[in-house]
Subunit: 395 residues, 2 copies
């Protein structure tokens, strides 16, 4: 177990009907004026936005609105939000939506908290936010874990760059998580969310540290819960317990808990970022689903015992003591079959990616061959191309 | 899954050598004067106290000292600490020790933060602390989970009352957790700690709510990790990974995580509190160990499926599909055998308790028959006596 230093102060208000408390809650915190930040149609159509406004009005909280956040939140919107916060003297941002809205809100909070710094400087590593305007959230999608994480990813649409950065200022003050608000998430998006949640834990689990037995057990327990709930939510989108498990697992999978004491680098996320960066029509979860098993088969020979442990403990595969690598591969196959059962792609061919662009993707992953990604196998450009190629054929 | 509202802001600084950062850390927080609060000999003898003082001096932090906290921390000491904090204008309390020192520190923090209120009023439910002086900790024992919990238990030695109360003011600002500091904890105390940690999770797991699959999985994973680590630490007290797992599991088992979305009442803790209240020589963990299996056998018929799940998932008992109750009982026996393997008592006879005092214990549990304790079985005085009696014979 490696040393760690962690604090997860975000208050989680979880369960049925909790979004109705938004106004009262914000009043209890003592805020005066809120930026309501959200995406497109569903929050409006479902009536949620109207309910939240009514709740704020009842509590005597003033607000301004900024809707229209896209699936990959862009810098232009962030800049608009910062300006609005400053001119309207907003003292809190309420994100209503999923990871994109949350990430956009976090970036606005950083920018408005430090008006003399260009917010993009945080994403390029040139500066660190000292102050921030706090973010609260009403979550409508179980996937990114942004509602309890330090992470935020923003696309600079002018420069064509997608960048993430982690900061304690990104931990929301509170997140209201009502699983019922995810009943209307469609089959495909539910599948994407399930994969994304699993992947946040798997990427940590398949880091290169040994000796983190307790973190392993928590990760394995969480993965089992997600697999069970993902299956049920796929078949019955209004199953409260399944939606609740996915939602809470989403928060726990990316708040740090499932990687404590471990060293890891999110290799599959990196491979996928460049993929959906070049093909913005590809959903993040679908890209991860298409890549993971090939990545796993590629790195498995370097640590088959780890993959065997995963197979036995998460998928109840019988251990093959004479040939542990067979057990390891069975675990990878089980994962792949599960993703397929959710209607998720398990090859790049299904996503209609052009194989002739693999080199370009790998170049971006490695900053034009200048760097390698640490992991169970340290990956260079050539190896990444191999993984993309392995992931191509339809299965 | 029941609704929940939680926040666990305590910063955990975990791992080898981290206690050396105490002074620097406290300076970073901006505190000026610290109360060093600790127990008896071991912190002094091991040299830890001296190191911490040196670290504070190096960082230019002033401090006053109050040692001598006992195993069941008493109100007299708390009052002394409050007075010291006020006269010395202390702005932070640094607890060096285990749960008793932490609980004493928390109570001092409440009292010194609100000088106009009698601190005992918090423990009798007459008042709630509004302010507090923050507590930081250097943990030397993995057991109580107080380093990350809202709980504090204090004994009013004049009135012969042991009372606990939970408050957000009790969540430490930070806890430094170095597993190496627990290498010298002896076999018996290590066993007591292992039982106590398991019990914090088991009492939540065997609450009466259904439908909390994800919390179940986390609890089961944690229990497996504790069982594995408890065995190793018992045999090899200087095994870092085992000590690390126990320490982190101790924090996680009582910070709320393993009971989220579940309703529970710590029945075995209640039965044990009255036991060790009447026999102060009995260690809390040993009392729990002596009582749990009898409690479990008593309530098991009301929900054998739950005990069967525990047996299968935590103890790898083969499911007896024709007779699930057999599986359930095998899980209870496995738990009992594990406690015995750690040298822990599994009967009250081993603890030399007098059976003629069972009625008095049950009376105290039920406030002289006036209340029952909710649970899988709601227990009244008569039933508690039965459980104490079941727990008596040596096994």
């Amino acid at each position: 177990m490696k040393n760690f230093d962690m604090s997860i102060p975000t208050r989680i208000i979880f369960g049925k009907g909790e979004e109705k408390r938004a106004g009262q809650l914000i009043r209890e915190y003592g805020f005066q004026k809120v930026l309501l930040h959200y995406g497109g149609g569903s929050v409006v159509k479902s009536g949620l936005l109207g309910q939240v406004k009514a709740s704020l009005e009842e509590a005597g909280i003033a607000y301004v609105e900024l809707g229209g956040v896209q699936a990959n939140p862009i810098l232009g919107m962030v800049r608009k939000g910062i300006k609005l916060c400053l001119t309207e003297q907003v003292d809190m941002i309420l994100a209503i939506g999923g990871g994109s809205v949350l990430d956009s809100s976090k970036a606005i909070g950083d920018g408005a908290g430090n008006p003399d710094v260009d917010v993009w400087d945080y994403f390029t590593g040139k500066a660190k936010p000292v102050n921030h305007i706090p973010v609260g959230a009403i979550l409508t999608l179980a996937a990114s874990g942004s509602e309890m994480s330090q992470s935020a990813v923003i696309t600079n649409e002018e420069e064509g760059l997608k960048r993430g950065f982690n900061s304690p200022t990104h931990q929301p003050l509170f997140s209201i998580c009502n699983p019922e608000l995810t009943f209307t998430v469609n089959k495909f998006q539910t599948g994407c969310g399930t994969v994304d949640i699993m992947m946040h834990t798997l990427e940590r689990y398949f880091g290169w540290s040994k000796d983190s037995g307790i973190t392993d057990r928590i990760a394995e327990g969480l993965l089992k819960a997600v697999i069970e709930a993902g299956r049920i939510a796929d078949q019955n989108p209004e199953d409260y317990e399944a939606r609740a498990a996915l939602m809470w697992a989403g928060s726990l999978s990316h708040n740090g808990l499932t990687g404590l004491g471990r060293e890891f680098m999110m290799q599959v996320h990196q491979l996928e970022h460049e993929l959906s960066g070049m093909y913005p029509r590809i959903a993040h979860g679908a890209g991860l689903s298409a890549l993971w098993a090939s990545w796993a088969r590629y790195v498995c020979p370097a640590w088959p015992e780890r993959f065997a442990q995963y197979a036995v403990r998460v998928w109840n595969v019988e251990m093959n003591f004479e040939a542990p690598v067979e057990t390891a591969l069975a675990g990878i196959r089980a994962t792949e079959a599960f993703f397929q059962s959710l209607g998720m792609p398990v090859s790049l061919e299904e996503l209609e990616v052009e194989p002739e662009r693999f080199e370009e993707m790998a170049e971006k992953c490695t900053n034009f061959g200048k760097r390698t990604l640490p992991g169970i196998c340290e990956l260079d450009k050539k190896e990444m191309i191999e993984i993309y190629q392995m992931a191509y054929p339809r299965r």
